[in-house]
Symmetry: C2
Subunit: 645 residues, 2 copies
């Protein structure tokens, strides 16, 4: 134990190693890291891409299919619209990417929708954006794990009855990996992420080569289960609906801007380049998949995915490369949950730091990650998985509204920022909590980009909410305002607390007029006499109190007290109804009523401490009951004097 002494203060560094470096916890999540180790726990671009891009990249596994599933209601001919819609989505993706690229450089300390909205739009939009994102991260975990498990159970149907257990088990595994720290979980999850990217890139490259050389052909035995007998019309609404379904490709694109602080310095630079790589890979793969799918005549199906049809056509069968892509797809869907685990705790810590969530969420755990947030995410997502029985169909309508709401608010906030920037003189600056605003000569262009982005994502969100309202989207529309109210209630609590604890105008108590000490005795024995000794050390004004239930017992107490009580005043409380706690409460209530100002009242309760906890079942838990009954009374201290048995 190292001890340094300053005038009036002693600094002690207790030796905690024997306490902290052992046990199951250490084995599960590793030995604790010191606060000073924090910088070494940041990650570079390669691991950063794996950690933060898996959610976004996993959407290439299903985005094209989502568009096709809507268009097919107007017949196979309507599928020609897939590629133009994909182009529009990629255009939106570019706008969003540019916007977030600017955000990342403007907010090097972390620039998610929450911070941008807080600095530029105010508390309510910020809390709304945060609530939307937090909800969406929980859903990301539930949906991606459930869809990963669905891939596994469609390959091994005998596992289907266990799908909820498997899904919850996977959530727990990813939770433990994340509790080990962002660096270790990043390393562990980098391999499958890059495996998927490589498998998908090879498939797309081979497909393009065969298309350009004219040897690609079309899908053999395309599935026909979704081709309808009566065709819907190709209306603008249908196209919009297909477009909004396809925008699920954009979910996860905001992840890097929330996680800037996880990157090595220079943070903004590294995070920005990672975002460009992510969007580049995402856009290229998505567009290529949509393009090739159109050329080879893929049809959407409930039984065979677009990726599977594409891969078997490209490779001319179901060989090793086909299997590699299918396996990689299943894994990336599960990995997508990891991105939520990287971002949810950080965003939670931001909320908590501003006093809108319990402040425990701002504390870094033994491995320098926000453990409370990680565990909370795992628990809530597991509950969702259990409630929805790991059904993707049931969960998917809840998904993506939150992320588009946060896109909208984030880009609106950025637009507001450019407007402020345009009205500064060169050299002037506005310092905000998250960043500093200076004059930007391109402010008009930037407002247009962000404003257009904001409107686009708002439109997508409204279409989403309308078309999926009945399927479950209403839950989110109810939930987000509810969450925001809870956040503000929490904020109110902390503000009130701070005001009540504030030392402004604080006048210290001048003196204590009286310290009345009550010692409760059930019988006269070594335990109660030990408590009496302690009570007497607190002050001279000691009264012993005994509750009389059995007259014989009371007689014995009186006689023994004469002998051993040392002259201490004894009060016997009659209890005609054989109650133990209630007469004490009534007596204390009486004392509190006649209390003078600055009078202290302390209740001393002797307590047996048995050798084993279960032996407590053999004793009345009077101390516990009294504590429960009295804890809300002001100006009263209860203490137990332990007596080892």
């Amino acid at each position: 134990m190292k001890i340094e002494t300053y005038p009036g203060t002693t600094i002690v560094e207790p030796n905690l190693n024997p306490i902290v470096k052992k046990g199951l916890r250490g084995w599960l999540i590793g030995n604790p890291l010191q606060t000073a180790d924090a910088p070494s726990q940041t990650i570079g671009k390669t691991i950063g891409l794996a950690v933060f891009a898996s959610d976004a990249l996993s959407s290439t596994a299903y985005a094209t299919q989502e568009i096709m599933t809507i268009l097919i209601t107007a017949g196979a001919g309507a599928l020609v619209a897939v590629f133009p819609i994909s182009l529009a989505i990629v255009a939106l993706m570019i706008i969003v990417t540019v916007s977030y690229q600017q955000t990342i450089h403007a907010y090097p300390g972390g620039g998610g929708a929450y911070i941008v909205a807080r600095d530029n739009l105010g508390e309510l939009p910020a809390q709304t954006a945060g609530a939307a994102l937090l909800t969406d991260y929980i859903l990301t975990v539930a949906v991606s794990i459930s869809s990963g498990v669905a891939q596994i159970t469609s390959a091994f149907p005998f596992l289907d009855p266990f799908r909820v257990i498997i899904a919850v088990g996977m959530v727990m595994f990813i939770m433990l990996m994340n509790l080990r720290g962002v660096k270790e979980s990043g390393k562990a999850f980098a391999v499958p992420t890059y495996f998927f990217v490589a498998a998908m890139a090879i498939t797309v490259a081979v497909g393009m080569f065969r298309f350009l050389t004219g040897s690609l052909g079309t899908v053999v035995n395309p599935p026909t289960d979704l081709i309808p007998s009566t065709l819907a019309l190709v209306t603008p609404f249908l196209l919009l609906h297909a477009f909004s379904s396809g925008t699920s490709a954009l979910t996860g694109i905001e992840a890097i801007s929330n996680g800037i602080t996880a990157f090595k310095e220079p943070r903004s630079h590294n995070a920005g380049i990672t975002l460009l790589w992510m969007s580049g890979i995402l856009g290229t793969l998505f567009l290529s998949i949509s393009f090739l799918s159109g050329k080879i005549g893929v049809t959407p199906s409930n039984y065979e995915t677009v990726i599977s049809q594409l891969a078997r056509t490209v490779y001319g069968g179901q060989g090793i490369l086909y299997l590699a892509l299918i396996a990689g797809t299943a894994i990336i869907l599960i990995m997508a949950a990891n991105t939520a685990f990287a971002d949810f705790p950080r965003l939670g810590a931001l909320h908590a730091g501003d006093g809108f969530l319990p402040h425990q969420m701002t504390m870094k755990g033994s491995r320098l990650v926000y453990s409370t947030g990680i565990v909370a995410l795992a628990m809530i997502a597991s509950v969702l998985i259990i409630i929805f029985q790991a059904s993707v169909t049931a969960l998917i309508p809840l998904y993506a509204i939150g992320v588009f709401l946060s896109f909208t608010l984030s880009q609106a906030g950025m637009a507001r920022r450019w407007w402020k920037s345009g009205h500064l003189k060169p050299g002037e600056q506005i310092v905000e909590p998250g960043s500093t605003i200076t004059y930007d000569k391109n402010w008009k262009t930037k407002i247009i980009i962000n404003g257009f982005g904001s409107l686009s994502t708002l439109t997508v969100m409204i279409v989403f909410a309308t078309t999926k309202f009945k399927d479950g989207a209403w839950i989110i529309i109810v939930l987000i305002p509810l969450l925001v109210s809870v956040f503000f209630a929490i904020h109110h609590h902390y503000k009130t607390l701070a005001k009540r604890l504030s030392l402004e105008n604080y006048i210290p108590h001048t003196r204590i007029s009286r310290h009345r000490i009550i010692v409760l005795i059930a019988g006269v024995h070594r335990g109660s006499l030990e408590a009496l000794t302690y009570a007497q050390s607190l002050g001279p004004d000691v009264t012993a109190v005994h509750v009389s239930i059995d007259p014989k017992e009371t007689d014995s107490v009186r006689k023994k007290w004469d002998q051993y009580g040392g002259g201490t005043r004894l009060v016997i409380l009659e209890s005609p109804y054989r109650l133990l706690v209630e007469p004490i409460l009534a007596y204390i209530q009486k004392l509190l009523e006649v209390r003078q100002p600055n009078e202290l009242l302390t209740i001393v309760v002797p307590q047996f401490i048995p050798a084993h906890w279960y032996e407590n079942l053999l004793h009345n838990q009077t101390a516990l009951l009294l504590r429960a009954a009295l804890v809300f009374k002001p100006g009263l201290v209860i203490l137990e004097v332990p007596y080892q048995v």
Copy 2:
């Protein structure tokens, strides 16, 4: 509040009426009764018969059928043995009744198997008898409620899916009635008990009259489902098996001897007469049912009970009297549980009084009954009902072994008592805790009666245990020794505790050499300064301790402490792993290691008391964690100074 003062002692009678006379509890079980009311809560013979006889009387509903079900395996011709076997059982019943009659007069303070075995055979047989009876009472509740519910669900099959809920609901109802007090529950349950006795007596009387006048006839369409195609031989073992099955008629006969203290004075007299009435009714009804059943050619069946066949033959159809008997039978089966509720808590209180069960069981609740025992019985029986899904077939093999074990031990104890009595000189006496033994000139006859009774019940028990071993009786054979071990472990705990608390050779602490006070501060605010004021009132040796997790926070604490700490020594504990509780524990451990003799150590923890309990979720529960970690450390007092927010 009435206050009387004696020299050195004050007797206070707090006004508890506003606390105790209201709320759901009062509505459910009635207002509390004063200890002085106890004598008015005793019961007379009429209600006593209803309370304590329902278990025994209910066995007339099935005892004849139990005998027939065994005999029928040797064919319908073997049923001629029913009446002789019933005569043998009634003979045994007379022996047991005479034995218990003697016990009741010898033990006016309660003379169950437990007390008789304790006074005459020793602790181990007494605990065994008690464990056997307690187990049997639990099973009585589970079996009788389940069979009552089975009668209901066979009348209303649509209720079958809810049978477990209905059964548990009935247990709760009988529990509440018993928590109201023995007098009130007795009154409530007297009506159905006498209704059943009357219905059964009328049936038997009409049957006898018609038999004697030759107009009785035989059962129309007797059920044949249990008549076997290949017949077993009528061996002595088969007859013994049938006999032991029929002895279920004796279960419940011991109830009155356990419950003597519930009767009005003169207790022994009233209890003795009630026992005679009970045995008389039980024997007459049982014998008549067996006799008439043989005459009219009743065959046992899984679909129609013996009582139903008898009644429809006696009444010549299923009229109003038939229905009254069937309804009364269903109700008496449920009522049988009430006897267990009357006896289990009394027996539990006897065990607890001797220190073999938690002493809470000796305390009378607000309605002057042993509430803990009543609630415990209801809970354990409900768990059994849930585990066995309210199935009578599954529960019945567990039943009756316990009661015969207690018969055996009780009668063996009485035999031992007569032996002691015979070896006294006239005028001599032995005073035992439960009774006083004097010379009895008929001691040899009495030894023969009790000895024969004991051997008979022992035989029945062994046959029972052997024939039903595989069906579940093994559970009881394992459980009873286990329970006895637990009882002795509890006894050991209380004996050790009493020795440790004893004031023999007690030397009071001469003086306290030092009282070291530690006050924990997370921050410097009104709450922690209030705690400091309190700590300073305890003594001059106060040290403030702060755990440093965030260096900025620590700096602020140091600066504010200089201003507001009033010169109190401040110790800062470095926590490189961001742990809160562990550094404090390590520091306290160090202090305890260097502690001098008679040095006290008190830890003062400031604690916010929020306006609503759920607001506690927004605060670290440091005080709670510290308490949990430190409660087992000797010589240490932790106290929380509350600060209302």
